[in-house]
Chain length 356, copies 2
């Protein structure tokens, strides 16, 4: 294949939006790519195997340059985490055949010009795609968020929202391993059924349903959510790992115990941008001396080796499971990304672009 | 005066409310008190000299028993911090003539049945009434909130709301002494003028005016507040010491820097209870990794000796000033307490019941 231009299917970002992403905000296009790397560039070309759909990507679809990560470029492929195989390289550290994980493009082949955004990964007994979830950014988010932000103690009462999601499912299991009492909430009964697989006490989806709350504000009141959480936490919550924000956060605040901790993770940002309702129960921070802390996994990259060891050991010992929602083919990517924001995925959303 | 019943003017709590206190929620009544203490009771009788008006007292006027402090009893005198002189005692630790500070009643004479709620104080070069402010609960709130909750560093950009109030005026001065850049906001130009006395850079009251915001929501938008704060903090805020909540908190969130800290103190609770608007900008907690922490000074009582030493030394060296708003006579107390919630007081609100 040396020095040959081949077809390259791509998922193109059409333009900036302010609302939640839709399938039509992206289009699949056939481009071409030269299967070679410019001499002296240090670049390498990869064939993408798996691509990751993550909620933070919505932030990159806004025309806003003040965030911790720049927006996507209209007319160019979506960027995101992926697992890829090197097919040509001008970089001595990456040889053809190497497997890599990190930031790549939503396309069949990507020319990687920032090698520092990827690391080499091994093919072993752990599925390669887990580099996008359990062993990747969502995994480190769960690990750093739980151990570093939540200050957990054995016996703590822990509540996790979006508990079958990419981050939530690991938080729940880590808390369980730590000796905490854990209850998770999820948006559908299908998701709640998955929680049972982790042996996490699962809240009924008929009332604790963060998606319904967003879509049917008038049907499910915050007080209903309060009461349901209260049924599972009659003595209150020590740790709330918040993946959703909005009414669930407000209801959790009412259920917090004295000296409680709230880790603010993920989608709280998204709700707030478009939701005309604000958070009303912050007075609980005062009366209950609660610490509420936002965090990004990128501030905890120094913990990466320790995190990997902990998670891999527990996975191999059968103490952890990890659920993926695997879509087949690059064509399925726009709908999969949009689906995150209406709760379509059950488990970590991944796209298989090519078989290993 | 032994064993004589004397007239005892009292401020009676009429009944529970959900809104901000009004003068008419209390009434001044003439009762009687026996100037003796029951044998074997350990109680003592005090003549009240100064009484304190504090925002937390609004919480005790609600029929809500789940808080950290029980509600007032309708038909009985208001309870609060005071400075008093012992006039009769069955308690070996408190002798007639002793000066005490702690929880007493809003009346001329109070029978103290919980001696553990008061401590003996000295008459020295520091005004006795300062035991209710600079050396009392508001002072410890400022000290613990700033040093323990805000994790201040020299050079930090510090924003304090209600900066001429009982707590805020000390926070601003402590931050200044710590080598921080400090800007305070206050509700009227008269208050802002007082801030200059502390050499705190004061924000213009014409726009940053938390009282106007509450009362004239449509006239002063959150965006105006955002822009004004931004003018004083072009590089953003490291520490926001929040005494007001509401729109000021929301606008401050937009102005926070990465790794910022927000101490949640005082009136955030009160706004939230009646304000239909919630806090909308919490997504900044995530993107900027902000820690937001509620606290109560009562969790830091172990720091009391260290706090007193720090504040008294700095006061004697002329590094600290403390502004009181002194009302004369028990009759003025209901209006003074109600006035806190419309921002009438300039500095710490105190009632002089009797001359020392």
């Amino acid at each position: 294949m040396e020095e040959v231009a081949v077809e390259n299917k791509q998922v193109i970002f059409k333009g900036y939006i302010e609302r939640a992403p839709r399938e039509t905000d992206m289009e699949v296009r056939i481009g071409t790519v030269e299967v070679k790397t410019p001499k002296g560039s240090g670049a390498f070309l990869v064939k993408n195997l798996y691509l990751s759909c993550d909620p933070y990507m919505r932030g990159r679809m806004r025309d806003y340059h003040g965030s911790y990560i720049p927006p996507f470029v209209p007319g160019q492929p979506i960027q995101g985490f992926g697992v890829s195989k090197v097919v040509a390289s001008d970089n001595p550290d990456f040889k053809p055949g190497d497997l890599v994980s990190g930031i790549t493009g939503w396309e069949e082949y990507s020319l990687i010009q920032k090698p520092e955004q990827l690391r080499r990964v091994q093919q072993d007994d752990i599925p390669l795609s887990f580099n996008l979830g359990l062993l990747g950014m969502p995994g480190l988010t769960a690990y750093a968020g739980f151990y570093e932000v939540c200050s957990p103690k054995k016996g703590d009462y822990v509540f996790v929202s979006a508990a079958s999601g990419a981050v939530g499912q690991l938080v729940g299991q880590l808390a369980k391993l730590h000796g905490c009492y854990v209850v998770g909430s999820a948006g559908t009964s299908q998701k709640v059924a998955k929680l049972d697989k982790f042996s996490i006490a699962s809240a009924s989806s008929t009332i604790i349903d963060y998606l319904s709350i967003t879509l049917q504000m008038m049907l499910i009141t915050q007080f209903d959510i309060y009461l349901t959480i209260n049924r599972y936490f009659p003595e209150g919550i020590d740790i709330y790992f918040d993946n959703v924000g909005g009414d669930m956060l407000d209801a959790a605040l009412l259920n917090m115990r004295i000296s409680g901790r709230i880790a603010v993770c993920g989608m709280v940002s998204l709700h707030s941008l478009s939701d005309p309702q604000g958070i009303r129960n912050l007075f609980n921070l005062l009366t209950k001396r609660i610490r509420m802390q936002g965090f990004l996994q990128s501030d905890y990259l120094h913990l990466y080796p320790k995190f990997l060891e902990h998670v891999i050991n527990n996975y191999r010992q059968g103490n952890l499971v990890y659920i993926e929602d695997m879509n087949e083919g690059l064509e399925s990517a726009p709908a999969a990304l949009a689906g995150l924001f209406s709760g379509k995925n059950v488990g970590k959303q991944v796209i298989r672009v090519a078989y290993e």
